[in-house]
């Protein structure tokens, strides 16, 4: 009973930690979203040079290097290059860019599974590339992306706990503080934190399901994609 009381008293800090976690996740996903779309469009419609020199190395690096290492690189790198950066910002850059590399994959897959006939039809009406992408390709690609994007949401939310390592006071770190402050039952407190994460993931997924239903294209079925090499998929 005393243990439950501990959780009750720790609730404000845990709540503040949860808010930080949610804010972090939103920042990561937003940065990832904007940059991800740009990268995806670059990979599908951009020149080969930009692709080979810029986009592909970027994606390869941010997908092959673990999130924790990226966090450290940005956090310690900022002082190495004499840039004043808070742990919060370093985390956003590291995880945001990482998410961009994964989201770019998602959008690219969606764009490529839209038949090229759509682009042809748009062009034949007289739309330029920008108009075609904006009015025909993207609206369809974004709808197709929702299921894999829901997966990315879950991953980013869970990985936000890594921000702990560079000192950001998110949910897990708050949990740690409570354990340290009160010599409380660590098992209980961390399990409670895990539960909060679970709820956040669940609620988010439900919202995305609703979004998917709302924007579903009636009658439309998606084709399957062909085989990719391992390095392309991780």
């Amino acid at each position: 009973m005393e243990q439950l009381n501990l959780i009750w008293q720790g609730l404000p800090s845990l709540l503040s930690g949860t808010v930080t976690t949610v804010i972090l996740t939103l920042y990561f996903l937003s940065l990832g979203f904007v940059l991800g779309i740009i990268l995806a469009l670059g990979r599908v419609y951009g020149s080969r040079i930009i692709n080979i020199l810029l986009i592909q190395p970027f994606e390869r690096f941010f997908r092959a290097v673990p999130a924790l290492v990226l966090l450290f690189l940005f956090y310690f790198g900022s002082s190495f290059f004499n840039i004043n950066m808070s742990p919060f910002v370093a985390a956003i850059l590291a995880m945001g860019l990482r998410s961009a590399a994964y989201q770019s994959q998602i959008f690219r897959g969606a764009i490529q599974s839209i038949g090229e006939g759509q682009m042809k039809a748009a062009r034949s009406l007289g739309m330029n590339t920008l108009q075609s992408i904006r009015h025909v390709i993207l609206p369809q690609a974004l709808r197709l992306s929702i299921p894999p994007w829901a997966n990315e949401y879950a991953v980013v939310l869970k990985d936000s706990s890594l921000a702990y390592a560079v000192g950001v006071t998110e949910l897990l770190r708050q949990g740690r503080y409570i354990v340290a402050r009160t010599f409380g039952n660590a098992l209980l407190i961390y399990t409670f934190c895990a539960l909060i994460y679970f709820v956040l993931v669940f609620v988010g997924n439900q919202c995305l399901k609703l979004l998917e239903e709302k924007y579903r294209i009636p009658g439309y079925e998606i084709k399957t994609t062909k085989h990719q090499s391992v390095l392309e998929r991780i």
């Binding site: 006939g117 009406l125 007289g126 739309m127 369809q140 009636p218």
Partner: protein
Amino acid sequence: MPDVILKAENVYKRYGKLEVLKGISFQVNRGDTTVIIGPSGTGKSTLLTCINQLTPPDKGRIWLEDTEITNPKTDINLIRSSIGMVFQHFNLFTHLTVLDNVRIGLSVVKKIPKNEATEISMEKLNEVGLADKVSSYPAELSGGQQQRVSIARALAMNPKLILFDEPTSALDPELIGEVLNVMTKLAEMGMTMVVVSHEMGFARAVANDIIFMENGFIVEEGKPDKMFNDSENPRTREFLHKITELYGGKEK
């Protein structure tokens, strides 16, 4: 004095090692329906996509009325908005309703205000007989209906001519009729049309001019009567014989 609306001169196109068009020249008069026939893979579709520069030709020139399409200085998007195209696989925008599909070219390319655009779109949808399907999505329609919507989409742009790339080849047999009927009506209303097709019945009944292409060349060209009954070239006769056997070429 025939009013030439489309003129192609010495058009060449190759894909990698394969030369698909080997010096194609022809003209289309305003109000005429030209049907291009020939074995598959002889570049008929490529010729169409060269006209609206979806696949720019390697060599040769093409004019739409007085404007040279192939001139790099020409605004190609402007040209495309005056040339309609109907595809074998319809290519309707899947995320848009029928009405939006027809309307989108008007709003985005021609920047026509929404009310006017809606009015024009409804008119065209009426012409193709699909006014009752305005809120449906493409995937909810039959192939024939989808193709008619795509014709309405092309018509809405008020084009100077319409290119048809095998418009009925992807349709189930019982749906071909509804599309051919719309096309016949368009021809009767005076629309200039260039049609790549295997539908010999349509060609015989509606075409003013038939072009037979094989291996990237124009083998023979002429009025339907001459081509079907009195052709000069044995290859034309051979092809027509084969195709009327397969597709039952008696006109309606």
